[in-house]
Symmetry: C2
Subunit: 292 residues, 2 copies
Amino acid sequence: MTVGVVGLGLIGGSIGLALRDPDRLIVGYDPNEANANLALDRACVDRLGSLAEVAVADVVFVAAPPAKVVDVLDQLKFLRGPDTVITDCTSVKRIVADWAESTRDPLFVPGHPMAGHEKSGPGFASAWMFRSARWILSPLPFTQKSAINRVESLVKAMGATPLQVPADRHDRHVAVVSHLPHALAALLVQLADGLDDKNVAGGSWRDLTRVGGVDPALWSQIFIGNRVELGRVIGEMSKRLAVLESDVVAGNEKAVLDFFIAAQEAKGRQTTSAGTTSETTKTKNLKGRKRV
Amino acid sequence: MTVGVVGLGLIGGSIGLALRDPDRLIVGYDPNEANANLALDRACVDRLGSLAEVAVADVVFVAAPPAKVVDVLDQLKFLRGPDTVITDCTSVKRIVADWAESTRDPLFVPGHPMAGHEKSGPGFASAWMFRSARWILSPLPFTQKSAINRVESLVKAMGATPLQVPADRHDRHVAVVSHLPHALAALLVQLADGLDDKNVAGGSWRDLTRVGGVDPALWSQIFIGNRVELGRVIGEMSKRLAVLESDVVAGNEKAVLDFFIAAQEAKGRQTTSAGTTSETTKTKNLKGRKRV
């Protein structure tokens, strides 16, 4: 089979690497020539082609920035083969769900791999990017079952787990688990910029700000694309932060203790991609909580 | 020489392990018998002793919870040897600086190892906990140089880098780089508790919430202990979050792009404990920013 990849950045490049197989021909296209050549040099694709050549593959992955994706889908609509299945990788699903609803395209499967990296570009692409990750698919009522199946089998071939989630629920979910954390990491590094000492130290700092310097162009598009859901969760976060602030300033020991107990309990109920319950909390619960 | 350790939890246990040496006798004390025995079983200390026995060591590390540390210092004042140097490990330095100022003790050196773990107790103690970490010391004008030197040489023996920082500057710094990140992690896991799907996925989520379930008793004491500085930085964070919220909700692309550019630039100016500038940002800057 042939697989097309439009957009040979971190995600598109990783899709190509993850799908390499003697039985698949991977053809890639990127309007940025440097990206395209680096992706070819790194063997992310078997060969480069024009958008028209890529568009006739059996399955086309569109890994374009959120602000460009609808443009690309519009172009592919006229270039595609009659049975070509198209899927995308956009972090906000409302954008492409709107496009799908307006075209009622039965062979387009909105998708979003829940994986990434704080670095960008095909130079950081890797074959194992999607291993153990979930790959959300948000098909619409008119999406063909066979198209979904074809995308799912490629997702599995990359080591990821496909999971169907409606677009709006996806967008609410990522607003909390991805977009808000990126906002907080960016706010933290800005806040720390006011300190005398730029050596900011500590494991928790390193982890919480790993994504504090992500690609501004990409992430501003994601934030604007998901502005309704993200605005809502930032508002909710603000409310909770205000309560914590007043409890801390007032020295309300009981309230601050309850705050951390609620957090520890919530963490105990959550699982990570790997499917395991938070180890930290399990250990703590076994040992019992020592109050002092 | 003899080293005393009061409080055989994660930090006290790790100090004992990190200082193990044929030339040092490590004597430990913990009012919690289970902790004390586990620390002895794990060879965190050479032997256990009463508080009075530990108090006559050449150097005593006090690794007690913030709410208990002044109590312990008061008791040690009457039990210590004439030349015993005492140091502590409390995350908030104002608490012990106040104690030092009231007693004008020349042999007490306030300290804080900038290392830790989301798990607690001597079961998670490790000999390499402090390697490459900074160990803040906040001596006062009347603190004896020889006492500071003795603590610094043990800190170096543990693989850490001693750094003198006044108590108030320390507390402002950790409010931003440690206490606020812990607050945000705890808020995130609570916010995600409202989602339908408890599998919250993604590398950034895992990193940003690693410390979301930390020991409630310990961390509520830290927050209350540093309530003035922490209240101030939470207030500052709230203000910035409100600006971001209104820009996101309004769909202000330019403002959100500038927000991420400012974050990326700030991250580029920051270094981690290891002393290296953020690799992410350096890479990005070399490649130039692609605007789309």
